[in-house]
């Protein structure tokens, strides 16, 4: 049915032609009714897909499975490469719950990964769209109560907007085998995650770096703190100093 130039017209529609060829295609359309119709059809289909084609987002279960899968693969090379599928197949073959539990233990057992690795990986994951904050607020009196009932401790929440480190929000995270509070601060275009949970691991601040991210770890008032960011170390230390000094 189609004119032999229809693929050229399609390439024009898709923005795949240079200026000279695009002009040639447009001129051809003026004299060719078939290609004019084809172009209109392309536009209609494009609009329909834009309006109504389902956009699929990776489900949270997949992100979780990948997280444990990657850790396990790293820790024990190939010992359990596909936890999700393993569990499903174990279930479908009717294996006993005891076996399933044993597999789950292997899967959940954290690989030899330091807390620093965990904190940095958690920060990187949090930078994915939609994962940064569960409660979005620059008001410490909104963020602090949000944690009530979600975790078994009350993290100290401070706003450092006056020091150029505005509070952006908070979320729950999971580190060191326990739920922790994560406070999100901004610094120009950079983000700082401040993880808080009960403990008294390191009274004096210690700095560390991993994969281009910097971290500062300290303890005070019965809480452990980890600040993580791609900020340069000096600036991150300023943040920690200002945070500890703030009332």
């Amino acid at each position: 049915m189609a004119c032999e130039n229809v693929l050229l017209v399609q390439a024009e529609f898709d923005g795949e032609l240079d200026a000279a060829d695009a002009l040639r295609a447009a001129q051809h359309r003026q004299g060719c009714a078939e290609c004019r119709d084809a172009y209109a059809q392309l536009a209609a289909t494009h609009a329909l897909l834009r309006e109504s084609a389902p956009r699929h987002q990776a489900p949270e279960s997949l992100r979780r499975a990948l997280r444990s899968g990657l850790n396990v693969t790293q820790g024990a090379k190939g010992a359990a490469t596909r936890p999700g599928r393993w569990l499903r197949e174990a279930a479908s073959f009717g294996l006993g719950a005891a076996l399933a539990a044993a597999i789950a233990l292997v899967v959940v057992n954290p690989a030899q990964e330091t807390l620093l690795d965990q904190v940095v990986a958690s920060h990187v994951r949090a930078l994915q769209p939609g994962h940064l904050e569960d409660v979005v607020s620059t008001d410490q009196h909104t963020v602090k109560p949000w944690f009530d009932g979600r975790i078994d401790f009350a993290p100290p929440v401070k706003d450092l907007a006056a020091k150029q480190f505005p509070l952006l929000g908070g979320r729950l995270d999971y580190l060191d085998n326990r739920p922790v509070a994560a406070l999100v601060y901004g610094s120009d275009k950079h983000l700082i995650d401040l993880y808080v949970w009960p403990g008294a691991d390191k009274p004096m601040p210690q700095t560390a770096a991993r994969n281009g991210y910097n971290a500062v770890h300290w303890s005070e008032n019965g809480m452990d703190f980890w600040a993580v960011s791609d900020l340069e170390p000096g600036k991150l230390n300023d943040f920690v100093r200002d945070w500890r000094a703030a009332g």
């Binding site: 898709d14 834009r50 084609a53 956009r55 699929h56 994915q128 769209p129």
Partner: protein
């Protein structure tokens, strides 16, 4: 390696899952395919020097999907009328301000288009999805689907033509 790998690959996880969904036409298979593809990608990651991690990951997803039984299984799964293939992902596209009738109509549009897309032959469907939904260039699509650019162009044309014809046939009845 893990953090660097996550930083390069995880931003494209939605695209990877979306392609897997369109290829396998089924959420559980899509999850399996992406999970396996990401683990494969982690294995190859040491050798990855490319400037286009999204195309790289999508190619692995596509190869993994073709290697799995999911495409064959999907082929015998017939979507029933009213099957809400597209429904779980539809809500984020629906404006919260929509009244119930508009929201319902949008859901039906999503489900209908999901069904018509699912009915396209897989090599046409993947080409169309990569162009119209992932907005990739002919060259990237040619790399991912391991086909010459001329083949990409003719598949794209046939896919659009078949979809438009199917929509017209539904609306005309």
């Amino acid at each position: 390696m893990s953090a660097e790998f996550e930083a390069v690959v995880l931003p494209h996880l939605d695209a990877a899952y979306s392609l897997a969904r369109y290829l396998t036409r089924n959420p559980a298979d899509a999850e399996d395919v992406v999970q396996e593809a990401v683990l494969r990608a982690a294995t190859y990651f040491g050798g990855f020097r490319g400037a286009n991690p999204r195309a790289w990951l999508l190619q692995i997803v596509r190869n993994t999907a073709y290697a799995s039984r999911a495409l064959v299984r999907g082929a015998v799964t017939v979507a029933l009328p009213g099957d809400e293939t597209g429904a779980p992902t539809a809500p984020e596209l629906i404006d919260r301000g929509d009244d119930p009738e508009t929201a319902l109509r949008k859901r039906e549009d999503h489900a209908r288009l999901a069904r018509l897309l699912a009915a396209l032959p897989v090599e046409l469907r993947e080409t169309l999805v990569l162009r119209e939904i992932e907005e990739l260039s002919y060259k990237e699509i040619a790399e991912i689907t391991q086909a010459p650019i001329g083949t990409v162009m003719s598949r794209l044309w046939r896919a659009r033509h078949m979809l438009a014809a199917a929509v017209q046939a539904e609306e005309g009845r």
